[in-house]
């Protein structure tokens, strides 16, 4: 018994599987428009960065019928489908900050969360195990897409960004202008209407604080 799903697919010759997937894209299915994708991205960012409940409600309502449809197909049962919806969307809420738009579409990310949840539910139904193996099976594979060095850089960046936010207003504006907007010190002095020397001294103060802060963290 290799296939786990009740919807057992028959063995197909090599090469035909993807065509099958394409062929199931019948008239009820369509590709998302660029606008829809931008909308999903916007909701995700608002959830991730601001824990925005309204955005989550929109995202939830957009995906709910699709998750229920997948659940009913896989479990042949409405209450299991409902459980799949509830658990997957709770994971979307808890993991939203881990979503990285550079690595793929919102729909792909949410699909993998739903897939993992349904794997764990099927395993529980068929073998009585609640070991939630899906995290180990697929987590590793999502880490691979960023190599680990790049990954820790992201973390470092996040810590830095958080700390920059805590700097005094004047220093924060200088750091943001130079590092995030990539302005030269002269351009920034012009933009803020302050002397170049002031930009330099604010920057020195800010960098000193950031270094001390990051140093503490790395000891």
């Amino acid at each position: 018994m290799i296939e786990k799903s009740r919807q057992q697919s028959t063995e197909t010759p090599q090469g035909s599987v993807m065509k099958d997937v394409a062929a199931t894209q019948t008239s009820e299915q369509r590709l998302l428009s660029a606008e829809q994708q931008a909308q999903l991205c916007d909701w995700m960012h608002r959830i991730a960065n601001h824990r925005d409940r309204k955005a989550f409600a929109c995202l939830f309502k957009w995906f709910a019928p699709k998750v229920l449809h997948l659940g009913r197909q896989r479990f042949g049962d409405a209450s299991q489908a409902q459980e799949l919806l509830q658990e997957s969307m709770a994971n979307v809420w808890r993991k939203a900050h881990l979503f990285n738009a550079e690595k793929g579409a919102v729909t792909t990310w949410i699909y993998t969360l739903v897939r993992n949840q349904s794997f764990d539910m099927l395993r529980k139904m068929q073998t009585n195990r609640e070991d939630n193996l899906s995290e180990d099976i697929w987590q590793q594979h999502s880490n691979e897409r960023d190599d680990s060095a790049e990954f820790s850089d992201h973390l470092l960046d996040r810590q830095l960004v958080e700390y920059v936010e805590k700097l005094p207003e004047e220093q924060k504006n200088v750091v943001k202008g130079i590092y995030f907007q990539e302005l030269s010190q002269e351009e920034l002095a012009n933009q803020l209407g302050i002397p170049l020397g002031t930009v330099k001294s604010r920057l020195r103060l800010a960098l000193g604080k950031l270094k001390a802060h990051m140093g503490e963290h790395h000891d």
Binding site: R30, L32, R51, F56, T108, R115, S118, D131, D136
Partner: protein, 216 residues
Amino acid sequence: MIKYHPSEHILQSYVQGELCASLSVAVSMHVAMCPQCQHLTCQYEASCAQSFAGENLDLHGDENWDELIAQITEDTMLAEIAAPAPLEIEIKGEQFLLPSSLQNVGLSGWLKLGKLSRSRLNLGDGKLHASLLHIEKGGSVPQHTHRGFELTLLLSGTFKDEMDSYVPGDFIMLDGSHEHSPVATESCLCFTLADDALHFSQGLSQLFNPIGKLIY
């Protein structure tokens, strides 16, 4: 160079979460070692997600989700990324780092038979037996066929059989039509999965038949 990959069908089912745990773990370990299958897996995921999201369904307008949404968003905890701690095992004085897919799967003690040692993985997939098999350099598994199927995923070291020689990452799926006797060209560690005891087919090796159950 890895030459043996899961079939497209297996990889597709893996992406859709439709394989049993033992086979999913095996594919996951292969994918971790194989850039080619990593690439395919990402493509399949994107394609499945497209079908999933493109489903044009009636919005159950009368369905009221507000209570469920409120309940979910009450949770203020953020999930953290747990960095998998590499699990190290030692067998016959050699150390191996196990792939992170196996980090939470229990291992039985090692059963040693000459140059062979095996440890069962506690994956609970009924008649499917998943094991780690260690073969010392020069050790071999007596010639056998498979009544069902046998999957060998080479994790470390090298071995050869009548058909080919294999490197880490090779995903070797055999069924009843194959007959082979693998020999370790250097000491090696494999993940094996079989759905039936091996059937040893040659002369004296028939005496080993009862150990087929033990090895795989």
